[in-house]
Symmetry: C2
Subunit: 231 residues, 2 copies
DNA sequence: ATGTCGATTTCGCTG
DNA sequence: CAGCGAAGTCGACAT
């Protein structure tokens, strides 16, 4: 990884056009060639960037640019698109490089997938007598998180979210519309399950006859086998 | 901005739990206290981070941790939530700080807002005789991008997207459903306008009686006053 | 390659 | 403050 601190102007053109006026910033060049421009302001994402695959070319400024105080010009060109980053280096304040080696990567616990696994194990949170048909039940427009049957054998489609907003209700609605065309499944009831359900989402869901279930992640995790926790 | 290169293990707990095993990484501490942990792998976002407002505390490792090779422990605690980042520094390879000053920030051109402004100016791209009622027409479930009237005085609701996919059609459908409950407006026709419309979105829109319009951004911009371009 | 969907989504705006 | 929607969304995974 190469780290450059420089006073620079940055221009991006591609899906949109963006300009960063001259200021001191951090330019990060990663091992795969990707380039990130960070300010000292909060914001976990760079002000401007170019993702791999791309090519960094360092060149001398034109006489006009040099007269404007540009010491060097970096051009980062995406290999596959017309996306391009142009960095006018006005003053190089620091330039260093480090070898990092391979990163083992991030291990996560507690994302939606885990919530779905817990719910599949504890399917009776939907009500007594519920049984699991399968997780990630495939449809033409994407997988339904959970397909189950209620105590009377009726089909139940469950959409699980950490935070339940209106989009999740729309998603479930699309699945229900499709599933209810299948004579072997219909009628299919919908359940919108989330750790937190936004009022507007609840209104929309209720209006469409979709039941809302609020999930207690910690409680479900507590019931769950300790072994299933990653750490 | 403080830049640290270190062999470290990072643990995040908060909305989820995440673990980064020991490896060499860049730790960026920004002026507002936010902390970003980057690997040398591509990925424009950090592996782990904590956004401001938060507090960084540097402390000595416990005897057990020290025996495991931990030289220092950084704890980054969010001021308002229970989100916490714990960084075990095993080996400090570099530690430097720089003064950046204020960043003037990013100026963008060509985003959806611009597309919407152009369309409001050139509302007849919808057809002869169309007139603008207003942009960002408010409804209970959010603002409609553009409300217009056709040559016969009929109401037209327009949803504008850079990339038109199925979500945009759903969004417009929700607006239409609501607007058509208003006796003063109904019947309200829908127009789905985008620079590019995905086939699936077009099928869904057509099925729902929504007209699709492909926008030529460059052409609209060309017609537009040169002054309106930022650079 | 394309489609779908989650995300510690973040970010910005508006009421 | 919440709510809504955009994002150069990114990134992972399945088809």
């Amino acid at each position: 990884m190469r780290l450059v601190i420089a006073r620079c102007e940055v221009r991006y053109s591609g899906r949109l056009t963006a300009l960063l006026p001259v200021a001191t910033r951090l330019i990060m060049v990663k091992a795969d060639g990707s380039v990130l421009v960070h300010s000292d302001n909060g914001s976990y994402k760079p002000l401007n960037w170019m993702m791999a695959p791309c090519r960094l070319r360092e060149s001398s400024p034109s006489p006009e640019a040099a007269a404007m105080g540009v010491a060097a010009v970096w051009t980062v060109q995406n290999d596959k698109t017309t996306d391009r980053l142009e960095i006018d280096i006005h003053e190089m304040l620091s330039d260093s490089a480090f070898e990092f080696g391979v990163d083992p990567g991030l291990v996560k616990d507690g994302v939606e997938a885990h919530l779905q696994a817990l719910m599949a194990e504890q399917i009776t949170v939907l009500g007594e007598g519920h049984t699991l048909v399968r997780r990630e039940y495939p449809t033409a427009i994407g997988p339904v998180d959970i397909l189950a049957r209620d105590s009377r054998g009726g089909t139940v489609a469950v959409e699980i979210k950490r935070r339940g907003d209106i989009e999740g209700v729309e998603q479930l609605t699309r699945y229900l519309e499709l599933l209810n065309r299948d004579p072997l499944l219909r009628p299919v009831a919908g359940v919108f399950a989330a750790q937190e359900i936004k009022p507007q989402a609840r209104v929309l869901a209720t209006d469409r006859g979709i039941r809302c279930v609020v999930l207690d992640y910690d409680a479900m995790r507590g019931v769950d086998d300790v072994e299933s926790r990653l750490f």
